[in-house]
């Protein structure tokens, strides 16, 4: 047994490099949080533990960014949205779809990871994103 990992943002992204999408769950009230943190937002308990999330989610809202800061300019236009996971927790994400016109609230998505350093020159950590379900 290795030592438990701290509930930090850096550890979240280290998990992403292992292709794992993780949240922390409050031991007391079972509330799941992404980003991870050490104090439960719901019941203030400081007993939290990592929990692995599934890969399936639904798009709850989105936008298509046409004007972006310099670091993201090469990707425009690109979609960003909020995804609700089967576990109920939500997270923000880039949404990759074959055609932007196909974006729809309620559409099924699945998580994937980009760990190619060239793809993520900025930001430098490995990243999760969501794409259409196959």
């Amino acid at each position: 047994m290795s030592a438990p990992r701290d509930p930090t943002i850096e550890e979240f992204y280290k998990y992403c490099s292992e292709k794992k999408l993780m949240g922390v769950r409050c031991v007391r009230c079972k509330h799941i949080m992404v980003p991870p943190r050490s104090i439960c937002n719901n019941c203030r308990s400081s007993r939290v533990e990592w929990t692995q999330l599934g890969s399936k989610g639904k798009l709850t809202t989105y936008t298509v960014v046409h004007m972006a800061p310099p670091q993201f300019k090469h990707m425009t236009p690109y979609a960003v949205g909020i995804v609700e996971m089967a576990e109920g927790v939500k997270l923000p994400s880039i949404i990759r779809v074959a055609r932007l016109e196909l974006l729809k609230i309620g559409m099924e998505l699945e998580a994937d990871f980009s760990t190619n350093p060239q793809e993520s020159a900025w930001p430098q950590w490995p990243r999760y994103f969501f794409k259409e379900t196959a």
Binding site: M33, T61, H66, M67, A68, P69
Partner: protein, 398 residues
């Protein structure tokens, strides 16, 4: 309930505003933020007679969002110095776009505590010296870095997420959002301090370039240079200092989750609801009592949501409210008579007290061509970031 304990303050003035000042808003080439601040401060001093700012103003709270625009931090003593206020106790207040709304609250608390009799509050931002993509990047720093910015979110982007939600849930249309822009430009055309004193058509707004769908250029507030100032005094002193004074009778502030995806709903700004409820209770007033309001229209959808959060219409009916004409200058509840952030401009740190400056002019009958007849109660609604901060103030004519 913590909020109930404040009932004893009902309707009593917390502090009074005896003067305001506003720099010209716009693309102010060759001028530093501190110089804009001095311009606003000077106007506020000139409104008063027999007033010695350096002697009588003992504390200053100054809102500014970012040191990145001018590579300058420690800006409160700098601004106070340029305004001729030394050795005033000057402190910078930062809550993103709600910085000077929050600075005003600090000023109210300073007066209400009895520590000071007269304080200056204000804000400033110099933004146009950098290229737009860089400004977009600096503005985005008010949202979360490792999860939101890293996922390519921009400021228009986060409000676009709210717009998409509002359209999906309530059927709000891009046309209704454009109507907010048309209205605010119409108002701004009457304001000599406004950045864009130009009316626009609905067609122009709808057909303008997409920034972050569904938001287009004309749904976005302007990148502007500007500064604003208000001089607060103990209510007892107000009459002695100026014949034109207004009372602050309600103040509220609330925060919500820093990251948007953790909010209960994206069709409302919960912090604004809570802040306004706190302010209404303190003022012992209801939404229908408000005669004129300045709301935080950083994006047109934000104004539509503000109508609902402030209780001017029911949830989901913000689109219908703008369609009805109610928030126009000749409507039943004129909103953003200054032109709002949309047309007057949004020098981020200056916005909160610039809203207060407009309400002061309205409630003292000095708003000229923008004057709302017999306005007695004014409300200011100032958001920080995507709504993680909201500050609401209620003012009453003196």
């Amino acid at each position: 309930m913590v909020r109930r304990e404040r009932f004893h303050l009902a309707a009593k003035p917390l502090a009074s505003i005896v003067s305001v000042g506003l720099s010209k808003f716009g693309r102010r080439e060759g001028v530093y933020a501190r110089e804009l601040f001095a311009e606003a401060a000077l106007e506020s001093f000139h409104r008063l007679e027999d007033f010695d700012p350096g002697k009588q103003i003992r504390a200053a709270f100054i809102g500014q969002m970012s040191e990145s625009y001018e590579r300058q931090s420690h800006t409160a003593p700098m601004a106070a110095n340029w305004a001729g206020l030394l050795p005033v106790a000057a402190t910078r207040v930062e809550d993103a776009c709600a910085s000077s709304g929050a600075a005003l609250r600090c000023g109210i608390m300073a007066i209400k505590s009895g520590l000071y009799d007269i304080v200056l509050v204000g804000g400033m931002e110099k933004m146009t010296n950098l290229p737009t993509p860089e400004v977009t990047g600096i503005l985005a720093t008010a949202s979360d870095f490792p999860f939101e910015q890293w996922n390519g979110m921009t400021f228009p982007g986060v409000f676009a997420l709210m717009a998409t939600s509002h359209m999906h849930e309530y059927g709000t249309t891009e046309e209704q959002m454009a109507m907010v822009a048309v209205k605010n430009h119409k108002h701004g055309a009457l304001n000599p301090k406004a950045h864009m004193q130009k009316e626009i058509t609905l067609d122009e707004a709808i057909k303008s370039r997409v920034v972050s769908w569904p938001l287009k250029i004309y749904d976005c507030s302007l990148i502007t240079d500007g500064a604003s100032v208000a001089i607060l005094a103990k209510p007892k002193l107000a009459k002695k200092l100026s014949k034109n004074y207004v009372h602050i009778i309600g103040t509220g502030q609330a925060q919500d989750t820093f990251l948007m995806h953790e909010r209960e709903s994206l069709t409302t700004v919960k912090a604004a609801k809570l802040a306004s409820q706190e302010a209404y209770k303190m003022a012992d007033l209801r939404p229908k009592d408000v005669n004129v309001a300045e709301v935080h229209d950083c994006f047109t959808i934000a104004e539509i949501i503000a109508y609902e959060d402030l209780g001017f219409c029911r949830p989901g009916l913000g689109g219908k409210f703008i369609e009805s004409g109610a928030p126009a200058l000749d409507g039943s509840l004129p909103i953003n008579t200054s032109g709002g952030l949309k047309s007057k401009g949004h020098p981020v740190g200056a916005t909160g007290t610039a809203q207060i400056a407009e309400l002061y002019l309205q409630l003292t009958g000095q708003a000229d061509r923008r004057q709302v007849k017999d306005a007695e109660i004014g409300l200011a609604h100032n958001l920080g970031g995507s709504g993680a901060t909201a500050v609401v103030h209620i003012l009453r004519s003196g």
